[in-house]
């Protein structure tokens, strides 16, 4: 039960990563590797600020700003300096590794004795229920774990609604269309370069918040924690798309959150069943590869071209 609740909580926290990856990979078709660095950046900024005495909510907000900055850096390197998309992300990600070390001052910042959003949620939960454990369908479950789960659910829901609403506004639809057909948007008076800057800022801001929350939940920030995040987020988005079976925005956003949770559960089950934790990233990469290649093979076997978006 503890394993299950833990997996759900981390899945919900990482759904913000999935939302960020959705914006860069799906809305802009921009393979933004920066996320590997910006998730750690978010964790580093939040952890250092919390240790320094800042309110955890302020520290999390600061993580968003820092992540957005990383996104701006990548998009500027691409749009203003004309560097290839993938390479701009790699450059910023690499630079972030040093920056993260500077932000933390060392490779690892523990938060176990600090007041974090997670510990605050636990306090609220204990205050409300007045008990240390709650009986759920015959399982005695710690109130602390349940409160953090509930808190993560609230955050994930709020962020999905925010992202969905944003893509319903004038600027949000313009952003979506810039990714879909940039030639058209230039003809309609939109500076598509600036749209990309804004989009990657938003994307990496969300990713950094995900890192900040993860650090507060697991009780530490570590300079290595971001490795593989992009693939992880992409796996969530792909599972989400398979779950909802459409490219409709509202459903895809919901799907990304569900995909993140489901993927985390799958990982928990696999580890429980004896998967060597060292093989986890290999398995994740293999899964994403399969998910990317499989639909094309199925379509070819069925004798028709795979359904792809119309490209200009």
């Amino acid at each position: 039960m503890l394993l299950f609740i833990g997996a759900l909580t981390i899945g919900l926290i990482l759904s913000l990563l999935a939302l960020g990856i959705f914006i860069s990979f799906r809305v802009f078709d921009f393979p933004d590797i920066t996320a590997d660095g910006s998730i750690t950046l978010g964790a580093a900024v939040a952890a250092s600020m919390i240790v320094g005495g800042a309110h955890p909510a302020v520290a999390t907000a600061a993580a968003f700003v820092a992540g957005a900055g990383a996104g701006v850096a990548t998009s500027i390197v691409h749009t203003r300096c004309g560097v290839n998309r993938l390479l701009s992300g790699i450059l910023v990600m690499t630079a972030l590794y040093s920056i993260n070390l500077h932000v933390m001052g060392r490779a690892n910042v523990p938060l176990l004795s600090s007041r974090t959003l997670a510990s605050m949620a636990e306090d609220v939960g204990q205050f409300v229920t007045g008990a240390d454990a709650v009986n759920i369908a015959g399982w005695m479950t710690s109130t602390r774990d349940l409160s953090t789960l509930f808190f993560a659910l609230l955050i994930a829901a709020a962020m999905s609604v925010l992202v969905f609403s944003f893509f319903r506004t004038d600027i949000g639809t313009a952003m979506q269309a810039s990714g879909d057909n940039d030639q058209m948007m230039r003809a309609l008076g939109v500076n598509v370069d600036n749209m990309l800057v804004l989009g990657l800022a938003l994307s990496n801001g969300l990713v950094a918040v995900s890192g900040a929350l993860l650090a507060q939940y697991q009780g530490f920030a570590d300079v290595q924690m971001g490795i593989g995040s992009v693939v992880w987020g992409l796996a969530s988005v792909i599972i989400g798309e398979a779950l909802v079976g459409t490219r409709k925005l509202g459903l895809v956003v919901t799907g990304a959150v569900m995909g993140s949770v489901l993927f985390r559960l799958l990982v928990a089950v696999a580890l429980r069943a004896g998967l060597n934790p060292n093989d986890l990233k290999l398995a994740t990469a293999a899964f994403v590869l399969a998910a990317l290649v499989f639909p094309g093979i199925v379509a070819r076997v069925r004798g028709r071209a795979p359904v792809t978006d119309v490209k200009k």
């Binding site: 944003f166 319903r168 506004t169 004038d170 600027i171 949000g172 639809t173 313009a174 979506q176 269309a177 879909d180 057909n181 030639q183 058209m184 948007m185 230039r186 003809a187 309609l188 008076g189 939109v190 500076n191 598509v192 490219r247 978006d309 119309v310 200009k312």
Partner: protein, 270 residues
């Protein structure tokens, strides 16, 4: 409304692939007039349109739209003044977004976009109304992704989008060349209607002699990067496709003569 002065554009300068696409074009278009541009392949007619739209920078010359010198403006900035329909029917719309979303994007052309809802009730009502005026039975499909519509339907909607907020200048870039004859007819009819109704200053590039003869109140024929003929008024009204073909034949003969003269000169002197 549009003044083009001595505009030059050379692609791949200084290489064996050098192409002098525009060789000092000058053209003034009065407000409210509908100018058709025709020309042989490689005559520079599409380049001229792209230069006006701002999607390619020019080497020399000036482009003035509605009294504003826009020569140095990027295309997204010119969109404030200029509406555009592309040759490729898929180029003017965002395929994964709905018909209504696409049109709401066009309704904000060249204006600041903020955090207001893109599709509020008022906008949606107006979109439905304007689409129903097209008479293509598309008003019940405004919540479908625009990518599910045919090329002709998408081109008609692109036309509606380009003309939505009455641009100072409407550019039509061989916008029926990629359509089947029936859709092409329909889109041409709509273009005529919209241009006439909103009295839009229009510049249209076409391959079709029929369209060139029938549409517009002025016709410019381009060859080798310059405007070689310019018909307007009664002279334009009298033009028939055969006359245009005859002009093209003249150009071809002149070219042949040039070539044979060059060949003769080289035989004699080289």
């Amino acid at each position: 409304m549009l003044t083009i002065e001595g505009v030059k554009k050379t692609f791949h300068p200084g290489t064996p692939h050098e192409v002098r696409a525009l060789d000092g074009v000058s053209l003034t278009i009065e407000p409210g007039s509908f100018v058709v541009v025709i020309g042989t392949n490689g005559s520079g007619k599409s380049t001229l349109l792209s230069a006006v739209a701002g999607s390619i920078p020019v080497d020399e010359g000036r482009i003035v739209v509605d009294g504003v010198n826009v020569t140095k403006w990027p295309d997204h900035r010119r969109a404030k003044l200029v509406g555009r329909v592309f040759q490729n029917p898929f180029a003017g719309t965002a395929p994964s977004m709905t018909v209504a979303e696409n049109l709401s994007l066009a309704a904000k052309r060249g204006r600041a976009r903020g955090l207001g809802w893109a599709l509020n009730a008022g906008v949606k009502r107006e979109i439905r109304e304007r689409i129903s005026r097209l008479g293509m039975q598309l008003e019940d499909r405004i919540d479908n992704p625009i990518g599910t519509l045919s090329g002709g339907q998408r081109q008609a909607l692109t036309l509606l989008m380009a003309s939505w907020s009455k641009p100072r200048l409407l550019l039509l870039d061989e916008h029926t060349a990629a359509l089947d004859p029936k859709s092409a007819d329909q889109v041409i009819r709509l273009s005529e209607e919209i241009v006439k109704r909103d009295r839009l200053t229009t510049m249209m590039v076409t391959h079709s002699m029929q369209q060139a003869a029938k549409l517009g109140d002025r016709l410019v024929m381009m060859h080798r990067g310059v405007a070689i003929h310019d018909f307007s008024g009664a002279e334009k009204a009298r033009l028939r496709p055969q006359d245009l073909l005859a002009r093209f034949e003249e150009i071809r003969r002149a070219d042949l003569l040039d070539q044979s003269a060059a060949a003769m000169l080289s035989r004699t002197y080289v």
